[in-house]
Symmetry: C3
Amino acid sequence: MKSTGKMPIRAAVLTISDSASRGEREDLSGPAVVEELERIGAEIVETAILADDEMEIARRLQACAESGKVDLVVTAGGTGFAGRDVTPEATRRVIERDAPGLAELMRAESLRITPLAALSRSVCGIRGRTLIVNLPGSVRGARENLLAIARLLPHAISLLRE
Amino acid sequence: MKSTGKMPIRAAVLTISDSASRGEREDLSGPAVVEELERIGAEIVETAILADDEMEIARRLQACAESGKVDLVVTAGGTGFAGRDVTPEATRRVIERDAPGLAELMRAESLRITPLAALSRSVCGIRGRTLIVNLPGSVRGARENLLAIARLLPHAISLLRE
Amino acid sequence: MKSTGKMPIRAAVLTISDSASRGEREDLSGPAVVEELERIGAEIVETAILADDEMEIARRLQACAESGKVDLVVTAGGTGFAGRDVTPEATRRVIERDAPGLAELMRAESLRITPLAALSRSVCGIRGRTLIVNLPGSVRGARENLLAIARLLPHAISLLRE
């Protein structure tokens, strides 16, 4: 086991949004996620805005996981019911091990605030030593879902580093 | 985006039961589901009683989704532990996008009433613009599970129509 | 339907642990699971300690299911985030029908005790007439998770025997 107890979580934040990727809409969710991650001491090593394209999202997730430089990839957006919402499908293509408890906890906590939380199709899972977490695209939804699991992330990442 | 705000949900209700499909038992669950769906303003465009046959169920689900005339398919039955219970497996064959939050919410709400809710293997998911929802086969279980998600269905369907 | 109402649950308990399988650590979780299963009247027909090897675990699960002598296989260990934790992946290889409600209930009940419950990646599912249930590897986690579903097991197994 490497001694990694003090190394901060190295996180990538990917906003998934057709309109934000074309510059038609300002990305507010990505910065909100960055802010929450920094609050738990994470170091943000990468941010990007991607279109709602399953293969493009999957390639980026895989590149993050295989870089050896990212412990955690957090996506925001593309988890709903609209036809272009395919972030969970892209995530399933990439993960090797499912972490359903994180997605269940995010939905259960979010349901205390809004019944619409049940429409989140978020997936969480592991590829190599990298944890991937899907958040909804709204600023409020992204924050609420991330907060539901934030305190678990340091322990989860330390286990992946063993 | 098409303006569909006022178009009612077009729903198909499929009862899955060997004995009801052979006429040996009256189908009470299908009509109960129809009644609950009409209560939220849905228009019932199709009802059928199918045997517990995985490929037959899958074919019918696919036909509903590809007809362009069905927003929502609700199945009742075949979600339990008996050997012939294969509705979730048939549903998994057909859906392109999983909607786990709906199935989780149905089980969580139903658990407040009976611990046996944990034995429901219901799957919810999307094919094209059609949402597929599995309900248990008992009249009471079907009603309770549907009520747990009923208020979410209009919003879910409107997102699928975008 | 065979009359099996009074036949006890025939259970196999598999401890999944590299260190315990090499004899470097005493297996305390397996005996704790045996104790809890005997409390609900189960007959323990097999116990074993396996390394965290996906194919080896899958082969043993399959052998249990196909022996015709095991109604329930309970595994303890290998459900977490460490790189060697692959019990859920081995279980997915073997099950024919998913039983997500049992895994959801275990995590939900365990969350009342510790937020770390969300890191359990446990899978529950059915192969043939055998139910497979993953528990965490810690004695406390294994007991707590098993207790969350223990009262459902007799009914679940009786349905599988139909």
